[in-house]
Symmetry: C5
Subunit: 262 residues, 5 copies
């Protein structure tokens, strides 16, 4: 965590990251309800919304679509990722080098760490290389900190999620993306132990506008610095209304009620 390293992907020290790597992580089935969402252009258009501070995609998507949007979107290069088709302890492939991401115009990198996986040691070492290379290129570092694996019984317990956010601080992330641990208290614990490293809540599976905004509001009040969201945006036919609401809650300190009544 380095001061100002995440400036390019935050606004007033807060972040709303639109994540769009589901085609790799989950496959095209995630686009089934809203077929247009399979087309990256649809999602890149959404990402031009003022509320979105960065768009996180894999290398292939960035190569093909980012050049047309580079004036309107801040690119967060999601370096690793994998399909869900194989079996075994959680792991993720490093699909993109930092050097290549920098050449394509990315302002920050994103990296998944499956703490608790029997592959944690290897993944942490890959994170080290990516994090230090990002520093050499003055790029911010976002960790997707998702404990999972044989040694974990409940990967959204308060202590596990607090451990997840602490890993981001200890290992050198500017922003750590964690799952919502189910309560305001647990979220506050996770934010407290992250120190100067920012915490953003992971959007998770699709919810109603109100339910989703309320969870985000709770997270912000607990100390979160924003949100990283995917399906809750692109699985909506018209995500603009939700993004308008998120902008109020995240950047304007509004309540869900206030945001919904705008």
């Amino acid at each position: 965590m380095i001061p100002l390293a995440d400036d390019a992907i935050t606004r007033d020290d807060k972040a709303l990251i639109l994540a769009y790597d589901h085609g790799l992580e989950h496959g095209p089935v995630d686009f089934a309800d809203v077929p247009a969402s399979a087309d990256p252009e649809t999602v890149f258009d959404v990402a031009t919304h003022d509320a979105v501070t960065a768009l996180a995609v894999q290398k292939g998507i960035a190569e093909a679509y980012y050049p047309s949007y580079e004036d309107d979107i801040t690119l967060l290069a999601k370096l690793n990722g994998t399909s869900n088709m194989w079996m075994g302890e959680p792991d993720s492939a490093v699909n993109w080098s930092v050097e290549n991401a920098a050449e394509l115009g990315a302002d920050a990198i994103g990296f998944t760490l499956y703490g608790g996986s029997n592959n944690e040691v290897e993944m942490a070492e890959e994170f080290r290389q990516a994090q230090e290379a990002a520093r050499d290129h003055d790029m911010g570092v976002v960790m997707w900190s998702y404990p999972r694996g044989q040694g974990l019984k409940n990967d959204t317990s308060a202590s596990t999620i607090a451990y997840a956010s602490r890993l981001g601080l200890e290992l050198g992330a500017d922003i750590t993306k964690i799952k919502y641990p189910g309560s305001a208290d647990a979220m506050k614990w996770a934010c407290d132990v992250a120190g100067k490293s920012k915490v953003v809540m992971s959007g998770g599976s699709k919810a109603s506008d109100r339910d989703f905004l309320e969870t985000v509001e709770t997270a912000m009040n607990a100390g979160a610095s924003g949100l990283a969201v995917g399906r809750n945006v692109f699985q909506r036919e018209n995500p603009t209304a939700l993004l308008d609401g998120l902008e109020q809650v995240i950047f304007e300190d509004k309540t869900t009620e206030e945001a919904l009544s705008v």
Copy 2:
């Protein structure tokens, strides 16, 4: 996927790739019905047909035969491959460096990814290195995207094949070679989710001229950008007629009936 990266191996944005790595992948048994096909010169001669936009071979074949054909054939360097003699989760050896392929005159690289294999993570990282090196040499990138492995029950289901083509887009292939998923609808899904990345259908095992052309026609109508074919060409005593037909269907928008009546 980068605009124009595949120019050298396409014609009007469509591709007919002649693949000839069966001696490595399946062994000489694939040449048994047409013994002359064991001789690379026979296949290189076929590849001079106007319909063929690129010939995909392994390094050893390229070293020995390509220099005599470099004016008439576009070389697609198939970087990885393996014999079928060993056991275990699908994997493939990287038999050729991008640098060496570029020196030999290749215009593009080909790389197999067995998504769903327990070796997917390692293969994806090898693909990253090859893909980024290809970019440094201004070479196009073709992914052989073949999900298979312990975690997959049916590797030609619609969702698996759509996942396969999406992997090409997400990871940075200009062209992704997939198996025909059995129906026009499934093929259309696979093409839709590939975005700007082109999809070519894999030829598979030998079929009659009419059956094969009809499948290719269906694939083209579903959004495919062409075909990568091996056995359906070199396992024919005289493949010229079929290539003539494929040229009509792929590049001239003709139906199978029209193509067969030329």
Copy 3:
């Protein structure tokens, strides 16, 4: 072990290393009793105590907090570490390169070796790389020598702890951190076989002031060169008194009684 290599992190050839990597190794649960200890600033403030000759933290903590304390604290870069969430033979991830640590201003490196783990060979080779890189940067080397793994029945027996301290000497540590083996005689053996390499006692879990000081006094009399302590300091609401006492015992050759009566 090189003469003077540890000068920056010792005082009169003795060391009191404050270790603060529990957020990575054990998770935030270690901060539960004294919540303020989750905040690195709290611990950095403690580390400005004259008795502390170096503060050992992971890269992320150093990046975020050390720049504000670089005039008052000597940084010991703890290069490897891991969470306790996964299963299998003991191992540790190398989270920090020596080059990066040197740039951030570290004067020495810290490295855990789990001798006796089935991963010992790999960890020893990682230690070699770190140790030799440290020499290139004129940095001291501290080994956390903690035998554990499938092949060990009792990891605090006299012979195991003596083996642990000898590993530090054989492999090139300037200072070796070992667990207290339970008796003055066993501690003396461990110090004797370390030769010119210094031995510091590991603080372990929290104890009363008197009990802890008495153990440290025993260790010093047995030939130890100091202490590396974490929980026994930051799990106290006000650790200053204990640090005052440790200063007397470690640097002023005082007994526990004398130290407590100051």
Copy 4:
């Protein structure tokens, strides 16, 4: 396979390679019947026979003995090899770098590939590195292509041996050494599918002069380009007669009868 790359180790496009790595592969027991054969000088002296186009040895033997013979013997650097003392899927250690071999004066490299071993992928990648480095040094490449491993039931069947010789062509060997598959037809198939890559027969265990020459004659008539032989030469008290005969059969197109009557 590159034209002329094997010129230094062939004579009229044919090869008689004397292989002497049995001390590594089988141990000193192979020298028991003819104790003098344990002394490399004995075998180097044999290798000065006009019929021998190259001598294949490991690095240590080359370092110690080749400098005295460099005017009379062509050195083929056998890069990999291993003892037969360990258990598990077939594998081979890379004991010699191409750079070092080139400095010692080698004109070509030799490399074993155990196709069908569960280590085939790794071995093929090591072969790639060696093969491409050899090209950088203008050295010829000989593959010892020996399918064996868990997935193979019969490693000398016609189809397996044909696969073996094809692997040499596909992966870039100038010469591929295969076992004799038991019949002229099977040998012809193996030679046919090797294309421009030359095939040499492996000598195997010791046979009578007549039996051995007849097998070689059959192999030559089937399309082989020569022989790689070890035990059938050095396990003879006086191998000159056999080498005289082999010279007639391999380079002078003589029959076994004619060769024996010279």
Copy 5:
């Protein structure tokens, strides 16, 4: 094996290597009978005896103690080694780079190869790197050739020990250290198959002066070039007498009787 490469560590082409890596390989328990032997200075003092042609230690010991003895002792850098605390197939960590050893003033390297271990392939490749780097620095190479592992029933049989010494020759050692195979004939076989590579006998566990000298005498008569000894020297309260005797037997061609009567 290269002529003169071992000059610095031999005298009249014979060697008496004092090995002192037991603190790493066996732990401090090896020093229990003669506690002073735990102190490297004690052993370095012994190594100044005229009979000792080189002292073999690990990096940490060399860093701390060699600078005071560099005028009186020839340093043999034992590059790999490991504790005996872990379980599994024999392996050894590379704890020292050749470059670092050269900077510290070493004249030769020592490297253990566990032929027959399922890790033999990896260890042989590590040996290759060390051996070739040693050549670049004009350093001699000594192999500790100790067959052991799952695939070996009796690791001191005549054929296994002969295989061990042959491995040294084949892989490029100037001197190969083997265990005494139990008889003069077996030792002679092991020396014969080592060719120009020198063989030194391993000292093994402690024996009486007479028994030990007689075994050394037998080995020398069988063709050995000397001895590598550890416990039989440093586990004696006063090792000078034994070293005097060894000097007579190894360098002066004396019998045990003659040596004991000096």
